[in-house]
């Protein structure tokens, strides 16, 4: 939708005394922002619309209820029974519990003020859990109200990040995945194979979508209490949560113990997803028999983890025949946990863990915090991942990845490739890097400005971009997440505006991303026939690694 139509809709919304979309999550051009500001100024000439007569009474009543509710729920307590401290319930409790047990302990403390009431309550409830056992159900409903159970999983998990997951129903029925911190394995019954994987980083999360439940609440634009409902016998408060990006969703939080009960997504592409626990119990520790690796009879072991644990760095250097830098000043609280050598890759990995008895800081600490320093012989030039931000270590280009799972910096210097990766914050990662190099460390953020401005600006239809983002979220057109591919398509269409038949006229390899702060990027096209030389890209709709890239302008290629 162009600015003319958007402005028209904006005026309609003001006239209808409704909050325009522009007053929320969307970002708009400076020009459009000025137009909406002017429209509001003009509307000041009109008489003000006051609320109806009942407003004062309603406001006072709502405030009294909300404030009293907040005050009365400052320190939620879990129901506890004697003995094993088990809470059992017949139905529903959702995955934020699991999320919390696995992820949230690392994130304590820094939530925004806006949403801190519910976030605080959930956080406090979760803090009291050591481990749990439950059944998670994932269901999908369509617009006709037909519901299909996508999968059911039995999970055992603790706050150290250890877990056992058995697929009870669904695509991988029968598969068992376990990570006990020392070894991660998956037993696939149908194949009769046992796969061994590295334990860290572990991208597998059985509650991945909800693993950041608390974080989502903290970061949400708005958290509105919209009512109360009984969910399978449990009284729950229903919240409507509008995330900073994405569609609003609803969260049912148990009135009594403040743990999330159920999460239901908004209807997207005529489908709605619900995730809930059909059963859960809280326990002190995970059963040892589930967490111990043993190859079942008739199974074949397939080891995907090439790492060989060694007793000393000297031994690792002997096996791999490389010399490594040993971080000299590691951040406080960290200690070397294990050393692994990978002979086939001439690589050594140093695993550091944060000890549990360190001073607890709200910013970064939890059991299971790990930083891995990998060093290997450099093979060719560093090729940063398409989703990475571009930083610098000394005079070398650095790949910077920052997501919910890990923070990672990879760079090359003097024939070696280094990677510091961990589930702690970026400052800790930088501290490790500082202990390995004297070079300046530059990690751009979204506030770091990109050099230059395009000679030619491209018209943007933000509504179309938003629709594309939704489509990408649903798994379509993943190339929109790759700034190089987006540049390739754009540059190719400049040459062939009628459409591309066969190969793209501009090859992928001819494009280099020279700057990328995670929100804006600059691509250089090294191809004589290209009309554009420098292409400017931006994540207009969502400013994280799930956000699509859009070309916002370009400079003409004068060398063609």
């Amino acid at each position: 939708m162009n600015n003319i139509k958007k402005l028209d809709r904006y005026i309609d919304e003001l006239n209808n005394e409704k909050r325009p979309l522009e007053h929320g999550k969307k970002s708009y051009s400076d020009e459009y922002r000025k137009l909406t500001e002017t429209a509001r100024l003009v509307k000041t000439l009109k008489d003000m619309e006051y609320p109806d007569e009942q407003y004062e009474k309603m406001l006072i009543g709502k405030l009294i209820r909300d404030i009293n509710y907040k005050e009365n729920n400052k320190l939620p307590k879990l129901n506890r029974y004697s003995g094993k401290r088990i809470i059992k319930r017949s139905m529903v409790i959702t995955a934020a519990v699991a999320a919390a047990a696995l992820v949230i302990f690392s994130a304590a403390g820094t939530f925004s003020r806006r949403n801190n009431n519910i976030a605080y309550a959930i956080e406090k409830a979760i803090e009291t859990i050591k481990a749990y056992h439950g059944i998670i159900e994932y269901t999908e409903s369509n617009m006709l109200g037909e519901t299909v159970t996508q999968s059911r999983k039995e999970v055992w998990a603790d706050k150290q990040g250890n877990y056992y997951v058995k697929e009870l129903e669904g695509f991988n029925k029968g598969a068992i995945t376990v990570n006990n911190g020392k070894i991660k394995w998956q037993l696939r019954e149908q194949e009769q194979n046992a796969y061994i994987f590295q334990t860290f980083p572990d991208p597998y999360r059985f509650t991945f979508e909800l693993g950041s439940e608390l974080e989502d609440v903290k970061k949400a634009l708005t958290v509105k209490e919209i009512g109360e409902e009984t969910v399978s016998g449990r009284e729950a408060i229903v919240f409507e949560i509008t995330p900073a990006s994405g569609e609003p969703y609803r969260l049912w939080v148990d009135k009594e113990n403040k743990l999330p009960l159920q999460r239901v997504s908004a209807m997207q592409n005529a489908l709605m997803y619900k995730v809930s626990y059909s059963f859960i119990e809280f326990i002190d520790a995970l059963p040892i028999e589930l967490m111990t690796y043993e190859l079942p009879d008739g199974f074949t072991e397939i080891n995907n983890n090439p790492e060989q644990l060694v007793a000393s760095i000297e031994e690792a250097m002997e096996i791999t025949d490389i010399q490594i830098i040993i971080p000299d000043k590691i951040p406080e609280g960290y200690a070397l946990d294990k050393i692994a050598a990978i002979k086939s890759m001439s690589a050594i990995k140093l695993y550091y863990i944060k000890e549990n008895n360190t001073i607890q800081s709200n910013e970064s600490n939890q059991a299971g915090t790990t930083v891995v320093v990998s060093q290997s012989k450099a093979e060719g030039e560093l090729k940063p991942d398409i989703s990475s931000i571009l930083g610098e270590i000394g005079s070398s280009k650095a790949e910077v990845i920052s997501n919910e799972l890990v923070n990672s910096v990879r760079w090359q210097q003097q024939g070696m490739e280094y990677n510091v990766l961990g589930n702690d914050n970026m400052d800790i990662i930088k501290a490790f890097i500082q202990s390995m190099t004297d070079g300046e460390i530059i990690i751009p953020t979204k506030d770091t400005s990109i050099s230059g401005k395009p000679q030619i600006e491209v018209d943007i239809d933000l509504e179309a971009e938003e629709n594309t983002q939704k489509s990408v979220d649903a798994g379509h057109s993943p190339w929109k997440l790759d700034p190089v591919f987006v540049t390739q398509v754009f540059a190719s269409l400049l040459l062939s505006p009628e459409g591309i038949v066969g190969d793209y006229p501009i090859p992928y390899d001819a494009i280099t991303i020279t700057e990328n702060n995670g929100v804006e990027a600059i691509a250089i096209i090294n191809d004589e026939k290209s009309i554009a030389r420098t292409v400017y890209l931006k994540r207009l709709v969502r400013q994280d690694d799930s956000g699509i890239w859009t070309v916002i302008g370009y400079d003409i290629n004068t060398e063609g």
């Binding site: 600015n3 003319i4 139509k5 402005l7 028209d8 005026i11 309609d12 919304e13 003001l14 006239n15 209808n16 005394e17 409704k18 909050r19 325009p20 522009e22 007053h23 929320g24 999550k25 969307k26 970002s27 708009y28 400076d30 922002r33 000025k34 137009l35 500001e37 002017t38 429209a39 509001r40 100024l41 003009v42 509307k43 000041t44 000439l45 009109k46 003000m48 619309e49 006051y50 609320p51 407003y55 004062e56 406001l59 006072i60 709502k62 405030l63 009294i64 909300d66 404030i67 009293n68 907040k70 005050e71 003020r113 806006r114 634009l221």
Partner: protein, 168 residues
């Protein structure tokens, strides 16, 4: 909260005394009732929570509430280009609010009205019908004997011109 029997009484009194002015301030910024009501409520929740947790007395309650409201608006609209910083609610006073934002309703309205006069007659008409009188595009088109597209383009150009005049 001294002088009140309990929290509920304090909340009731505070709202009764201040909501109209607070609502007016917010409405002036957002120009729609739905959002103004919503932000009014959120401002009180923040203010009262803060007062209770910090055991403090606020001398200028209206300024204090306006500051909170302003921060909420900025916070909500933060992805748009921002003009200012968040104001510490303990520093709230009228001078800050006046210096950082349009709070002088009359002056603002005069500025806009004068700027409107510099538009062409047709531009004035379209702005008057669409925004001040609140007619729909269809109604405006009929009244001006134009088609809807023409009305949309005219109002766009008129606002663009008005923005230039106001900011010049």
């Amino acid at each position: 909260m001294c002088g009140f029997k309990n929290r509920d009484e304090f909340i009731e009194q505070l709202c009764t005394d201040t909501w109209v002015e607070l609502y007016r301030f917010i409405y002036f910024k957002v120009q729609n009732r739905e959002e103004a009501q919503d932000i009014t409520q959120e401002s009180y929740i923040r203010a009262i929570t803060y007062l209770m947790n910090n055991d403090m007395t606020i001398h200028k309650m209206n300024s204090y509430l306006r500051t909170i409201a302003l921060n909420i608006i900025r916070d909500r609209w933060r992805v748009q280009k921002r003009k200012g910083r968040s104001i510490n609610i303990e520093d709230a006073n009228d001078e800050i609010l006046i210096s950082e934002d349009f709070t002088d309703y009359v002056a603002t309205r005069n500025t806009v009205a004068e700027a409107m006069e510099q538009l062409t007659k047709e531009q004035q008409t379209v702005i008057n019908l669409r925004i001040i009188k609140g007619f729909s595009v269809e109604e405006t088109a009929r009244l001006m004997n134009k088609n809807k597209t023409a009305v949309r383009v005219m109002q766009y150009r008129a606002l663009k011109q008005l923005e230039k005049i106001i900011n010049s």
